[in-house]
């Protein structure tokens, strides 16, 4: 970590944030009988896993179907980047017709990934309602009219900064760091 990088959420705050998001979901979804969680590939799936696990810790009867969705083929920047994006796996073992869908991603920035995700999701049916849950909401940088319904933390950033979410499952520690560009 460089001197001007800062920790936005350390592991204690991170844990509290996940718990709060889970409780907010319970307030709105009651028994989750008609609810499905979809994590956007690649990094939204870790958050989706955690939210599902947290809900199950709170009440064993909350066993919510979980899918992972890759949006690569739906992106609007294909052929506008030098290096094409590598797709990740889509695993949607269920139909989302008439379900309440909670779409999950780690960071909400321009909104373009979420836009692609909404399109990709519709290949699996017409949901009754879709909500968006994100861990980090980077305000003021949106390119599209997309807002999250559940937000772990709002941050104010400049475009060149980068928010990185680390997960204990893959990176050894739960934390969120904001990387700032070098001065030179």
């Amino acid at each position: 970590m460089k001197h001007n990088d800062r920790i936005i959420l350390d592991s204690t705050q991170f844990d509290l944030t996940i718990k709060r998001l889970a409780h907010q979901l319970i307030e709105n979804h009651n028994d989750f009988s008609n609810t499905i969680i979809i994590g956007l590939q690649p990094r939204g799936t870790y958050l989706a896993d955690r939210i599902k696990a947290e809900l199950k810790l709170i009440d064993k009867t909350y066993d919510i179907p979980l899918g992972t969705l890759d949006v690569t083929f739906y992106r609007d920047d294909y052929r506008r980047q030098n290096n094409p994006l590598v797709p990740s796996k889509t695993e949607m073992e269920f139909d989302i017709e008439d379900k309440n869908v909670i779409l999950v991603d780690d960071v909400l920035f321009t909104g373009r990934t979420i836009r692609s995700g909404l399109d990709a999701m519709l290949a699996f049916g017409r949901p009754k309602m879709v909500e968006l849950l994100v861990l980090i909401n980077r305000r003021y940088e949106r390119h599209l009219p997309i807002q999250a319904d559940y937000i772990g933390k709002n941050i104010h950033t400049i475009v060149s900064e980068r928010a990185k979410v680390s997960w204990s499952a893959t990176d050894g520690e739960d934390k969120v760091i904001l990387y700032t560009p070098d001065d030179e």
Partner: protein, 309 residues
Amino acid sequence: MMNKLSVNHLLGIKYLTKADINLIFETADHFKEVINRPIKKVPSLRDITIANLFFENSTRTKLSFEIAEKRLSADILNFSSSSSSVTKGETLIDTVNNILSMKVDMVVMRHPNPGAADFLSKHVDAKIINAGDGAHEHPTQALLDSFSIREKYDDLKGKNVVIVGDIIHSRVALSNIFCLKKLGANVRVCGPLTLIPKHIASLGVEVMTNLKDALNWCDVAMMLRIQLERQNMKFFPSLREYSMQYGLDKQLLDSLDKEITVMHPGPINRGVEITSDVADSKQSIILEQVQNGVAIRMAVLYLLAGKIE
């Protein structure tokens, strides 16, 4: 992971690296999931126009490319030479440039002359995909064949594959030999010597003339069609004699030491190279090949479209 092809056109397997082939396979894995969704279409190529130029008859390949293009949301132009100005004496470059001036980005071409796709790629400004050029190459067929073997056995390395029948007239055989060798499989060919090219050993391929021995050696047998339309002389006495020597029937299949996988690129001449009960048996993966063909062609189109400036 590498995420770009090393080539700008798909002219033949011989121009691809092993990494290219694996990238196509990994991309095709994702498209195979896509084409099994309730809505089987993605918008990736919605700003791309593709011309399918078929200067030679085709059912499967043409339909497979067409459905792959539609699943990727591309716009499509279809052309077949029998109903075109080619019969009025127009040259290939003129025909294609006329089509390209309608703002076409990619061309899928089948042509009776070997090297036609390669020639085109040097003279016109579009991404070219070879859908079969004479007895030269048929790269997407070889890719879908290896993809189907990979699906069944995970890895092709060390697998024994025998290609049976009309090798000399077969672009499928040549592309498959290149593809299988690049992926580390052992390849042999089997058939009457009149149907086997003279210098095939230089490709690292052994020749066998006894079908039963060849089948006992292999894990996978690719049965090829006798291409009567390309044979202007007699290569064997009669179809009946050919099928007695080199046809695969259920009795022969059941007499082998192990359970092999049977493939066929289609169209099948039932009763000549394989009998109906073999084609429809559980050891045959002929219909999987057809399904995989769509996923492979989507992957090739998607990856080459990514190289359009």
